[in-house]
């Protein structure tokens, strides 16, 4: 898994590529990257799932931990561009009840400031 960071309009965007699985993590975890941004004062985090093929339970844990850390500081975390298959899994497991999942990056960026 590869994670690249960029910023747009004070929103930190993590472009994730590959599978978010425990066997594929080599360096720093997603949650740690999110925490680092929160500690530096950022409050708006967007996870771009366009190139994420699959996630396992470790990946679910990372996403939820990132959500909790962001939310507890009064920030917002959104997911964008997840595949239909993954979205279906999120729906069945009720992750969609918690996570703010949007179609595309632009919608997410507008949503941060509208919220």
């Amino acid at each position: 898994m590869v994670i690249n960071k960029r910023e747009k309009n004070s929103v930190v965007i993590f472009d994730i590529e590959g599978e978010i699985k425990r066997s594929d993590i080599t360096d720093v975890t997603l949650h740690q990257l999110v925490k680092d941004q929160l500690e530096s004062g950022k409050k708006h985090i967007l996870l771009n799932f366009e190139k994420v093929e699959f996630i396992d339970s470790f990946g679910v844990g990372e996403i939820l931990a990132s959500y909790i850390s962001t939310h507890n500081l009064g920030g917002k975390l959104k997911l964008a561009r997840i595949s239909k298959k993954l979205f279906l899994v999120f729906q069945v497991t009720m992750l969609t009840k918690v996570l703010d999942i949007v179609e595309d990056e632009e919608t997410a960026l507008q949503g941060f400031f509208k919220d």
Partner: protein, 797 residues
């Protein structure tokens, strides 16, 4: 920013901030220029009435207050149609004109004109004073109002003193009407001050509240506010009804006191010779007292004690004097009670009462004030008049028994005191309503919205489809056992329609692989399947077989071996905790593959054997296994608190482990855990400070009645205050609030914190107001300097 000279002078007597000097002085002047003429008007009113209709007809004068209903209705209609500035300017012009008219007419008045003049004086008081307080409410939020109310309130008192002294010195017997020229001059000056206030308002805040409303809407953008609308606004709101009840009692008691004092004053020959002059001197004297009380005491009383004590002082003192008049009636007590009534009314009581309105929503506030201050105020005087007429009738109409009035007054004062207690409690509730809960703890939202364990199991099931049909089958079985294999999940798992060769739990049976595809319409024989598999797993022969298999698989390396070990660990998790295979878990937990150790930890969590705990804690050090280890340890529950505590307190353990242990303890969340965490904090674990405090906050958010040592928490708050003072770390502020949430209402503290974070002027003010009432004095004195620094301009979190 350097303070201006004016600011430096004013800050000697009042807690004034830069930028507030001009408006504070303007309001001071405004209040001065309306109370000075009112004092004169009242003195002329009382003389002309006592000389004309007389003391025994005073209740009829009070009763004319009822006609003020029409005035209130007219004022409300005008308020809805024209701007605030227009309304005030019109009112001032009206009173200037009618002052001149009375100046011309009063000298030749019969007994009827003093009654008309009495009514006019009542209208003046109601309209002009209410308009002043409306302007004050428009400009200031609760925190600002509390700071400054003593100052510009004292402008009113000084005006009263000036008006009183002028009346005393200038009033001539039978020529009291000439004082109305002075009234006229003062009101003209007032129009210029009012104009300056609105110019300041426009510059400071734009024209939001003060532009002319569209037709049919009010200056506040609400519907047209007739009398009925104003009445309904009060009727439908419990808090406003309480305020209304207080006003009713205040005015009724005030009429009793007025009659008590005037009875004895009118009997005194020295005073009777020039009543206007006496009333002027009396008014000036009591206002001198009020002025010093207001400027030196009112703001301090309110800041120190909140609203409750200032609300109680007034009726408590009147009760004392009322009982005094009953015991030893005479001119001294009559003057004392009247003096107390007016001086405390103008100072601490008026200020406290106006503060009670500040948290009321703007669209309700103006309607309520129009009704309460303009109509109910005077209607209550009528009610007091009715009660007095009954007392006079029952005693002696020509020579009423004032002692009976004192007793009745005392009863009303007791009711008033009880009502004030309720009002001050409701004030806090009203402030809380202004503070929304901006967000909730993320972990609580997650716990409430979804089943994380099942979600993870579903993902693992899907992932295992590509890895191992045996693992896949075991996951399906696990879902089945947990009764989580819902139609939606079955459909999801059968999403890819490729046929999947599932080895029907082949590793258990050593049977040939047989195809098994999950179709969404297939009914799995759940109970039968569970029973069969359980029986197989309990067979001694089965256990030996798998043990041999485990001994071969566990030492292996490589991807195939990893999958085999995952299957083994998963299978063990499906077995009974007494299975000898549980002994193999240690090796599987220690495995370098996070996927293998994950399944092994899951099994350990089901078995809850203490011997696995140290290994699980070791796994907290690795970010890849931390979450799984944490979840496993949490399932052990309270029985491992002691063991976790040892790791927490051991400075030799890696920080990541100790942080994760804190998180596990927060997940377990029993009162013993809270005690342990507090001890760890008190033990000075600086590097874990925020994690420990967050853990306590998490537990408290789930357990509102969590018992904690208040003293221990207080000492921790002191430490955080010191951190903030020396290092200005925003995290210290968050920690302070989390610690406060342990000993005060968690909900209230977090509303206050979140509204401080929202950072609008009003959200911060209301948040601080709530904390002012929630925290005890020692805590307020400790943290308010931190909060006031933190909420100053340009602070960020």
């Amino acid at each position: 920013m350097a303070k201006s000279r004016l600011s430096r002078i004013l800050s000697r007597v009042v807690d004034i901030k830069t930028g507030e000097e001009r408006i504070a002085l303007l309001l001071f002047s405004y209040f001065f220029l309306i109370t000075a003429p009112f004092t004169i008007i009242k003195a002329v009113r009382d003389q002309s009435y006592l000389d004309g209709p007389g003391v025994q007809n005073l209740p009829y004068a009070y009763a004319t207050a009822l006609l003020l209903g029409f005035v209130v209705s007219l004022h409300s209609k005008m308020q809805a149609r024209i701007s605030r500035q227009g309304l005030i300017s019109f009112s001032l012009a009206f009173f200037i004109g009618t002052s001149f008219l009375f100046f011309l007419l009063l000298p030749n008045a019969g007994n009827w004109l003093p009654i008309v003049y009495y009514m006019w004086a009542n209208v003046f008081a109601v309209v002009i004073m209410t308009q002043f307080w409306m302007v004050m409410n428009d400009i200031f939020n609760p925190r600002e109002a509390k700071r400054l109310i003593g100052f510009f309130g004292s402008g009113g008192i000084l005006g009263g003193i000036a008006g009183g002294v002028a009346t005393w010195r200038l009033a001539k017997p039978d020529e009291e009407h000439e004082l109305l020229i002075l009234v006229l001059v003062l009101l003209v000056a007032c129009t210029f001050v009012v104009r300056a206030i609105f110019i300041w308002q426009k510059k400071a805040q734009g024209t939001i509240s003060f532009s002319a409303p569209k037709s049919g809407s009010s200056a506040m953008g609400t519907e047209q506010a007739g009398f009925k609308v104003c009445f309904d606004t009060v009727r439908k709101d419990n808090y406003l009804k309480l305020l209304a009840a207080v006003v009713i009692l205040t005015q009724i008691v005030s009429t009793f006191i007025d009659v008590q004092s005037k009875s004895y004053i009118n009997q005194n020959p020295g005073m009777k010779a020039n009543l206007a002059s006496f009333f002027g001197l009396f008014q000036a004297g009591l206002l001198v007292f009020s002025f010093f009380f207001q400027i030196l005491m009112t703001s301090n009383l309110v800041k120190r004690f909140g609203i409750r004590l200032p609300l109680m002082i007034y009726p408590a003192i009147l009760l004392l004097f009322s009982l005094g008049i009953f015991v030893a009636p005479g001119i001294v007590l009559a003057i004392l009670i009247k003096g107390s009534d007016k001086s405390l009314s103008y100072s601490v009581n008026q200020s406290a009462r106006e503060l009670l309105y500040v948290p009321v929503a703007p669209e309700k506030k103006y309607k309520a004030k129009a009704f309460i201050d303009m109509f109910l105020n005077r209607f209550s005087k009528t009610a007091g008049a009715m009660i007095l007429l009954v007392i006079f009738y029952l005693t002696n109409p020509k020579n009423p028994n004032i002692k009976v009035v004192s007793v009745v007054s005392a009863c009303f004062l007791l009711a008033w005191i009880l009502l004030n207690l309720k009002v001050s409690k409701e004030y806090v509730s009203t402030v809380k309503e202004k503070l929304g809960r901006e967000w909730e703890r993320g972990d609580r939202i997650v716990d409430r919205a979804m089943d994380v364990e099942t979600a993870k199991l579903v993902f693992d099931t899907l992932e295992s489809k590509n890895r191992s049909s045996d693992l896949y089958a075991m996951h399906l079985y696990d879902l089945l056992k947990k009764d989580k294999l819902t139609p939606e999940i079955k459909k999801l798992i059968g999403y890819e329609s490729d046929e999947i060769r599932v080895a029907s739990l082949g590793v258990l049976m050593e049977a040939e692989e047989s195809p098994w595809t999950v179709h969404e319409d297939e009914e799995l024989p759940a109970e039968v399947l569970q029973k069969e598999i359980q029986e197989i797993m309990e067979l001694e022969s089965y256990q030996h077989l798998i043990k041999d298999y485990a001994d071969k698989v566990i030492p292996g390396k490589g991807p195939d071996s990893e999958t085999a070990k995952m299957e083994l660990a998963k299978a063990i998790s499906l077995m009974d905790p007494r299975s000898p295979l549980a002994a193999s878990l240690d090796d599987l937990i220690k495995d370098e593959s996070p996927a293998v150790s994950r399944y092994a930890m899951e099994a350990a969590a089901k078995f809850k054997a203490r011997e696995h705990v140290p290994l699980l804690i070791r796994k907290l050090a690795d970010p890849l296994t931390r979450e799984d280890a944490r979840a496993a340890l949490e399932k052990y529950g309270s029985k491992i608190i002691g063991m976790l505590g040892d790791y927490l307190e051991d400075p030799a353990e890696p920080p990541a482990v100790r942080e994760a242990v804190t998180s596990v303890l927060a997940g377990i969340g029993s009162p013993d855990v809270a005690e342990l965490l507090l001890q760890a904090l008190a033990g000075g674990q600086e590097e874990l400070q925020s994690d420990l405090i967050d853990a306590l906050d998490k537990i408290r958010s789930r357990t509102p009645n969590l018992p904690v040592s208040v003293e221990a928490v207080r000492m921790l708050i002191v430490k955080e205050v010191v951190h903030y003072t020396h290092e200005k770390k925003p995290s210290a502020v968050i920690n302070i609030f989390k610690l406060l949430g342990l000993v005060y209402s968690h909900e209230d503290i977090f509303r206050a914190y979140q509204n401080i974070r929202v950072r609008t002027k009003d959200s911060v003010a209301y948040a601080l107001e709530l904390l002012d009432y929630t925290l005890d004095k020692e805590m307020r004195d400790l943290i308010f300097p931190v909060l006031e620094d933190f909420t100053a301009v340009n602070k960020t979190v």
